[in-house]
């Protein structure tokens, strides 16, 4: 089997398999839509970072026990909404909702007193809600322009219908990452938004390479249009490349994730790595198993 996979001579009937994956896709789509609607209506809580909600974070290293954390959480100076600890390090992060500059400074000194560390060693971040908003707005702008460009490019290079299929695969990846974040209650930071935009690039890159291969197969077949034969041939051949590419792309990102986790470092880099990692896996999956059922539909017509 591995040998066949390697040679690209697996004889999976993608048209048949496509039907199964179409059902999976429908189920996924229903879940995504539900999650999306629930988070819009507030039934599901979307865990937005201080960049979006406005507020302050304090990060430092200190020796602490659970009662210390309870005390800080109950502090009357600021409304401390969350804290974060790490298994492999003494890092502590507190997040508080927006308040006056004075109160925020007071809290900084309070922490420095309580944990007996110089206040210069506390990493302090204050963010107004506008910053996150701006990133989101720009992100959505980028998304719209980018998607229109993609439709034009793919329609020009291949076929209009292909561009729609690429869009479906893209949306699938974005919503998958979003749903996982919402369902697991992971924190969405501006880095997450950036990572989502990068996933777009990845997913599309994968899909374009696939379409290119499909085009080649059609050219080398005796028909001038997409047939069952060339569809199956393409996908069987492309499996190995897709696997290899996602492995090589995922390895560096996985190493950020695992190394960051091991060293107990949380921060922008890990915030990037997690959604990227999920996104790459999802992109590989969608470029094959989401596109197949839709390509099959084109043939049927």
């Amino acid at each position: 089997m591995i040998k066949k996979l390697f040679i690209g001579s697996t004889d999976i009937d993608f048209l048949k398999v496509g039907k199964l994956f179409y059902r999976i896709f429908i189920i996924e789509a229903l879940i995504f839509i539900a999650v999306f609607i629930f988070s819009l209506t507030g039934i599901l809580n979307v865990n937005l970072s201080v960049d979006f909600t406005g507020g302050t974070t304090y990060q430092f290293e200190a020796n602490y026990d659970d009662t210390d954390i309870d005390e800080v959480m109950a502090s009357s100076i600021l409304d401390v909404s969350r804290y974060q600890t790490f298994e492999n390090s003494n890092s502590l992060i507190f997040r508080a909702t927006e308040n006056t500059q004075d109160k925020e400074t007071e809290f900084l000194f309070y922490l420095s007193n309580k944990f007996d560390i110089p206040d210069a060693d506390i990493d302090f971040q204050r963010v107004g809600p506008t910053f996150g908003d701006e990133i989101t707005t720009k992100g959505i702008q980028a998304l719209i322009i980018f998607l229109s460009l993609v439709v034009l490019l793919i329609s020009y290079r291949y076929e209009f219908k292909y561009s729609l299929i690429a869009l479906i695969a893209l949306t699938h990846d974005l919503l998958l990452v979003f749903s996982i974040y919402v369902l697991l209650g992971l924190e969405i930071t501006p880095s997450t938004v950036i990572a989502l935009l990068t996933i777009l690039g990845y997913s599309l890159y994968d899909t374009v390479i696939l379409f290119d291969k499909l085009n080649d197969s059609i050219k080398s077949s005796k028909y001038s249009y997409l047939t069952d034969g060339s569809l199956n041939k393409t996908f069987n051949e492309v499996l190995m490349r897709s696997l290899n590419t996602s492995i090589t792309s995922a390895i560096p990102i996985a190493s950020i994730l695992f190394l960051g986790n091991y060293l107990g470092l949380s921060g922008t880099l890990s915030d990037f790595a997690l959604p990227l990692f999920i996104g790459i896996l999802s992109g590989t999956y969608s470029s094959i198993f989401v596109t197949v059922p839709f390509l099959a539909k084109i043939i049927n017509k």
Partner: protein, 484 residues
């Protein structure tokens, strides 16, 4: 020979560039998040005139220089109405904010009354109990709105209307009743602290077009006596100073010539005079900003993050290399030589950009680089897989390699075009951290195109001659490859 040169062209360029950078002891200019410091994003109201923001940035620059002790501060306009201030190496937040100065508005407002005479805010009325003269209570005067009931100061200061402002600048609390602002910091062209004789003086110069306004204002004030003769200098809702108009000023003439002198006494050796002069000179920005983000990174966290990024990148590169060798054998080495040159070139270019263009490598830039390793590796995989497909249908190694290299170029061109437009779009639209990421990704994509066209395309056909066994290129026997 010519072939070998073609193959080694890019690796040689990369290595010599790297050697140049290495021997000149250059290293990438690190962003604040990698070396520690404070970063503040200031945002003005939407639709603020771009020119005013540029002016504000200029003022902030001068101010930070005057403040001193900040290494390589960076103040840049980012986006339409934001200013990004980066103070690397600064860890004391209070000082950093001080360095930026109060971003509020500097105004000149006539004093209408003050608490000097009664000890109470002019907004309050004293009610003396007729039975007990000792028992004095206060109430807000009729017609006064928007002030605190107990101490009688304005809850919100709007320079366009009358307000009651507390000042502790003279060492004891004074509440001033101030009229609407008549002049602003914009009207000042220069201010300097001098010590002509016996006492310190802040010598003030107004812009030509504002000189008349000042004359008119002083004419009016010179008619008054006591508190009403004073002109308050207000910065960000605080009375910095409230000098009175000298008694020798003729009410029919006012202070003319667009200059004024504020007597500051001699008590503190000129410190207050200097401070006032600095505030007058740089104190007011033409626009008011909101601090939309303050980020402080300690030097240790920055270093940790940098190491994490470098280690992760290195480990990623090693694993990817091992994988490619196991899988593509000789071709794997081709990819590794290519990827290593790619890495060296990338490092050198980022360092040189930092040196000559001020480009700083940030965390998101590193993320972009790590992502681009995957991207570059994929280009090799695409080519190698095409090579395999050609051999599979019975083509000779030489022919298969030529065709694969040519075909792969077309595919990669399309795919990289998509990546490049994504990166460009991100760069153009993005603010702050996203830019570093987009730039790294964009540069990587362009390099990838160069490497595919100039390196891979020549090298794959070259190595395809080295052996006639499929074992040299793939972990599989020729027989199995062809038997399909």
């Amino acid at each position: 020979m010519k072939k070998l040169f073609k193959i080694l062209f890019l690796p040689l360029i990369s290595i010599s560039l790297f050697a140049l950078v290495y021997y000149q002891n250059l290293s990438p200019k690190l962003g604040l998040d990698l070396q520690g410091g404070i970063s503040v994003i200031l945002t003005a109201d939407e639709g603020t005139d771009q020119e005013l923001i540029e002016q504000a940035v200029e003022i902030m620059r001068t101010r930070i220089e005057a403040f001193g002790d900040v290494q390589e501060p960076e103040i840049a306009i980012s986006g339409e109405n934001s200013v990004l201030v980066q103070l690397p190496g600064v860890t004391d937040q209070e000082r950093a904010i001080e360095a930026l100065g109060t971003t509020g508005l500097l105004t000149f407002r006539p004093v209408l009354d003050s608490s000097m005479s009664t000890g109470y805010s002019p907004a309050l009325e004293l009610i003396v109990d007729p039975d007990d003269p000792e028992n004095v209570s206060t109430a807000i005067k009729e017609g006064v709105t928007g002030v605190d009931e107990v101490i009688g100061i304005s809850l919100e200061d709007n320079p366009e209307f009358e307000s009651y402002i507390l000042s502790v600048n003279s060492g004891y609390p004074v509440v001033y009743q101030l009229g609407p602002a008549e002049l602003t910091g914009n009207d000042i062209s220069d201010a300097i602290a001098v010590f002509p004789e016996n006492e310190w003086i802040v010598s003030l110069e107004f812009k030509d077009e504002s000189a008349n306004l000042f004359t008119e204002l002083t004419k009016k004030l010179a008619n008054e006596n006591g508190e009403k003769r004073k002109l308050a200098i207000v910065l960000d809702g605080e009375v910095v100073s409230a000098p009175g108009i000298a008694f020798d000023v003729d009410p029919t003439v006012g202070i003319t010539g667009g200059t004024a002198a504020i007597s500051m006494g001699n008590a503190d050796g000129g410190e207050s005079a200097n401070n006032l002069a600095i505030i007058l000179r740089y104190g007011a920005l033409p626009v008011s900003f909101e601090r939309s983000s303050i980020q402080k990174v300690s030097a240790t966290l920055g270093e940790n993050t940098l190491n994490l990024g470098l280690q992760a990148g290195l480990i990623g590169l090693i694993i990817v290399s091992l994988y490619l060798i196991l899988y593509y054998r000789i071709l794997g080495f081709v990819a590794i030589l290519g990827l290593t040159s790619f890495g060296l070139l990338f490092y050198s270019v980022i360092t040189l950009l930092g040196e000559y263009q001020g480009f700083t490598l940030t965390l998101s830039g590193i993320a972009g680089i790590i992502v681009s390793i995957g991207l570059a590796a994929d280009s090799y995989i695409v080519t190698f897989e095409k090579f395999k497909d050609e051999i599979k249908i019975g083509r000779s190694f030489q022919f298969a390699a030529d065709k694969a290299a040519t075909d792969a170029w077309k595919t990669i061109l399309t795919a990289d075009f998509v990546s490049l437009s994504a990166a460009t779009l991100l760069y153009v639209l993005a603010i702050g951290p996203i830019r570093g990421f987009a730039l790294a990704l964009g540069v990587a994509t362009v390099f990838d195109l160069f490497f595919t066209r100039l390196y891979t395309r020549n090298t794959v056909p070259f190595v395809s001659n080295l052996t006639s066994s499929s074992r040299g290129f793939f972990p599989i026997k020729m027989k199995d490859l062809l038997n399909d």
